[in-house]
Amino acid sequence: MALNQFLLLSLFLFCTGVYGALVRRSGVLVLMSIELMLNAANLNLVAFSAFYKGELSGQVFALFVIAIAAAEVGVGLAIVLLLYRNLSSADLDRADSMKG
């Protein structure tokens, strides 16, 4: 199989993730979009790893990313939960107390 198809899929996933992360208002959906971006990167890693045969570091790295992403989701969800508690909504636009 050619490498390009995977890269295109990965690009699509990544752009979707960026779009979601930038325009969605709900914190949960932003988190999900971030996951999409991470998985796009994972896909890239695995694709290159398969393309260069015998080179396993890409796969190992992907495993690392998955593990870290799991931890990151845990932290992210906790933040969203706290936002919801304090503002009674998960709308990110309302979390603007850092405004100068």
């Binding site: 960026v18 992360a21 930038l22 932003v30 990110l92 636009d93 979390a95 405004k99 100068g100």
Partner: protein, 713 residues
């Protein structure tokens, strides 16, 4: 126990921190923490002695201390006969001193500090004696020096006491430089190792050039001189008596000051090969020891302070130990260290008891006739005196005899003569002290009384030990001290092919570490293999190249002639003292006659060695340096500052205010403020607090960056 030897120093170390951290809360009860810790350490040391006598198997344990690109340094414990003996001596004397101090230091203003320092001292000293490498040895060496400094100036409100502490500290620093340099030299020449066994083995095997070894040995000897009070660096030890008496007993008589002797005994291979001890005649180590024992003993005659008499006596006895090692009588030197610790601690604690009774004075002119009033002190002090004077069968006789016999058998006639001279002087000055204190009429103004039991029991125990420990090495005993405590190291003959083998050894440096592990594992097999035992470098040279043997310094049979003469000489010394100080038969104005007068002044001035060090070296450098600095400060620095000030005021200031400050500086700051304000309002729009807007900028910037990188590639 030997495998867990690190626990022995660890327990007092823990006690130190506990006392330090909770001293305020515990108050006077903190002394019991120290006593409990030392009791635990003593029990462990005693078990270790038992096991050593039972098995006599050298135990080494080590862990990696730190590691870097070029190699690693291991640290660990090395328990052999010498370490076992030292552990027992240190814990015993320290425990007794802890108990004794309960009463002696009662109500002291820094009671907790005192006990904390005692604990730290015990821990460091115990660490010193089981260290298996020179770096750990150096560390604990410095630690005991620190504790000594802390305890000498324990009553630092008195300027004399803090000066004494400083003198001890600074004099020791001179020797410590030698120690550091020696250790560094040995590190490089012994194949980049701090391991003591390896260094000894390398020194004896001939793989190190003799000149290098000589320099290393002389450097280490400087450290011995300072720590163990050898001429010319002995000047701090009499002043160190400013500390509390139990401290003098523990640190400045029984344990710390023998650290130098211990170090020579531990690194004996270096000294033996470096100073060519087996060739007889004379060498630097024996010379230093020989001179010290006579000079120390002679100065003890003119002192009126009982503690100073004992201090000079300690110097003299340390001279015996160093001379013993110098003449190759290893066992004799170490055995003297062992016996001396007990009887000298006994004497010091006895002196403390005397001062406790007589209004805190140590002046013998204010004592006298105390025999009836303080019977226990009298008895123990007499035992200590006789042991020190070398009267059989007390401890000092056996060890001193062994040293003199070693000097005779190993062909060091000068040292033997000096030893006999010092022996007669020792007996005489101790007799003088004994008669001045306990006989005649009481000359003070206090009401002397016997000290309480808590002080007298430790003294009695030490006196008892002073009677019996000498018998451990008596010629008729079944088991002898010399069989339990001996210096032995495996040596491979590398003479002849020195250059080539040394190069090979360097190449093998990395394998050596692995080799050690194997050797440890095969320790038992090696012991079974029974190497040939040799006693001198000549014998090692005669071996086939590469042959491995066991090196031990030679031990000599008991010699009735030497023993008899040393007893006779000791008795003569005592008789002289009796004649002068008890019977008062000597001409009254003897000291006014010129040769005696001059000698007396010379001794009173301590051979002018103190004057040389303090006035000549310390003040000699301090004075001109201070004057010079003062001149530079007054004339040059002050002049420069004043000149600059005047010039500025006259010419520079008006110009600076009108032109620079008003126009340039103010303008600059105003401009800066305005610019910042403008930039701030421009950038404020970016800081809108909307996290997703930030994200947009981020992605935008990364996209541009990616584009640039892609285009450039």
């Amino acid at each position: 126990m030997a495998h867990w030897a690190f626990l022995i120093p660890l327990v007092p170390a823990v006690s130190y921190f506990v006392i330090l951290l909770f001293g305020k809360r515990f108050g006077e009860r903190c002394s019991y923490i120290g006593i409990a810790a030392l009791s635990a350490a003593w029990v462990m040391a005693a078990i270790n002695v038992y096991q050593w006598i039972d098995r006599r198997e050298i135990v080494r344990e080590s862990i990696e201390w730190f590691e870097w690109g070029g190699g690693s340094i291991r640290v660990g414990t090395h328990v052999d006969g010498l370490a076992t003996m030292m552990l027992f001596v240190v814990t015993s004397v320290s425990l007794l001193v802890h108990v004794y101090s309960l009463e002696y230091l009662r109500g002291d203003r820094r009671y907790t500090h005192y006990y904390a320092a005692l604990s730290l001292f015990s821990a460091s000293m115990l660490m010193l004696v089981i260290a298996d490498n020179t770096l750990a040895l150096l560390t604990s060496w410095e630690l005991v020096g620190l504790c000594s400094f802390m305890l000498i100036s324990h009553w630092w409100e008195d300027k004399d006491n803090s000066n004494a502490g400083l003198k001890a500290f600074i004099t020791n620093r001179v020797g410590d430089v030698g120690l550091i340099v020696g250790i560094i030299i040995l590190y490089f020449v012994a194949g980049k190792t701090f391991d003591i066994d390896t260094i000894n083995s390398a020194a004896l095997s001939g793989s190190i050039r003799h000149g290098t070894l000589l320099i290393a040995a002389v450097c280490l000897l400087a450290a011995v001189c300072s720590k163990s009070g050898q001429v010319p660096l002995h000047i701090w030890l009499p002043d160190a008596m400013a500390g509390p008496t139990p401290v003098s007993a523990l640190i400045h008589a029984a344990t710390m000051v023998v650290a130098g002797v211990y170090m020579v005994a531990r690194l004996y291979g270096v000294f033996f090969a470096g100073l060519s001890i087996d060739e007889g005649g004379m060498n630097l180590l024996a010379l230093v020891g020989g001179v010290t024992m006579v000079i120390g003993a002679s100065m003890a005659f003119v002192q009126n302070d009982i503690k100073r008499v004992l201090a000079y006596s300690t110097i003299s006895q340390l001279g015996y130990m160093v001379a013993a090692l110098g003449v190759g009588a290893w066992t004799g030197g170490v055995f003297h260290l062992f016996t001396h610790a007990f009887f000298k601690a006994c004497l010091f604690l006895g002196a403390g008891s005397l001062s406790h009774a007589c209004h805190h004075t140590f002046d013998m002119r204010e004592m006298g006739g105390l025999r009836k009033k303080m019977p226990t002190t009298f008895l123990t002090f007499t035992i200590g005196t006789l042991a020190l004077a070398g009267v059989p069968p007390l401890a000092g006789f056996w060890s001193k005899d062994e040293i003199l016999n070693g000097a005779r058998a190993n062909d060091f006639p000068i040292i033997m003569v000096l030893g006999f001279v010092a022996a007669i002087m020792t007996a005489a000055y101790m007799g003088r002290a004994l008669y001045l204190i306990f006989f005649g009429q009481y000359r003070g103004h206090a009401h002397p009384h016997e000290s309480p039991k808590v002080m007298m029991i430790p003294v009695s125990i030490l006196a008892g030990l002073a009677v019996v420990v000498g018998l451990l090495n008596a010629p008729f005993a079944d088991y002898r001290f010399g069989q339990w405590v001996k210096f032995e190291v495996e040596v491979e003959n590398r003479y002849g092919a020195a250059g080539e083998v040394a190069a090979a050894a360097e190449a093998e440096g990395e394998h050596a570490a692995e080799g050690e592990v194997v050797a440890e594992a095969e320790g038992e097999h090696a012991a079974e293999a029974e190497h040939v035992i040799v006693h001198s470098i000549t014998e090692i040279k005669e071996l086939a190249p590469g042959e491995v043997v066991l090196f031990e310094p030679e031990e000599h049979e008991f010699n009735i002639g030497v023993a008899g003469s040393s007893v006779a000489i000791g008795l003569v010394g005592l008789l002289i003292a009796t004649w002068i100080y008890l019977l008062r038969k000597a001409p009254k104005n003897l000291l006014l006659v010129n040769p005696f007068r001059a000698l007396y002044t010379l001794l009173l001035q301590k051979y002018y060695l103190d004057k040389l060090a303090v006035d000549g070296i310390a003040k000699g450098t301090a004075g001109p340096v201070a004057d010079g600095s003062y001149w530079v400060n007054q004339k040059i620095i002050d002049g420069a500052v004043n000149g600059v000030g005047v010039t500025t005021k006259k010419y520079l200031a008006p110009f600076a205010y009108e032109q620079l400050d008003q126009f340039v500086v103010d303008g600059l700051y105003n401009g800066l403020g305005e610019t910042t304000k403008g930039l701030g309002s421009a950038f404020r729009k970016l800081q809108n607090g909307r996290i997703q807007r930030y994200g947009l900028w981020l992605f935008f910037a990364v996209a541009i960056l990616g584009l640039v990188v892609a285009l450039l590639a």
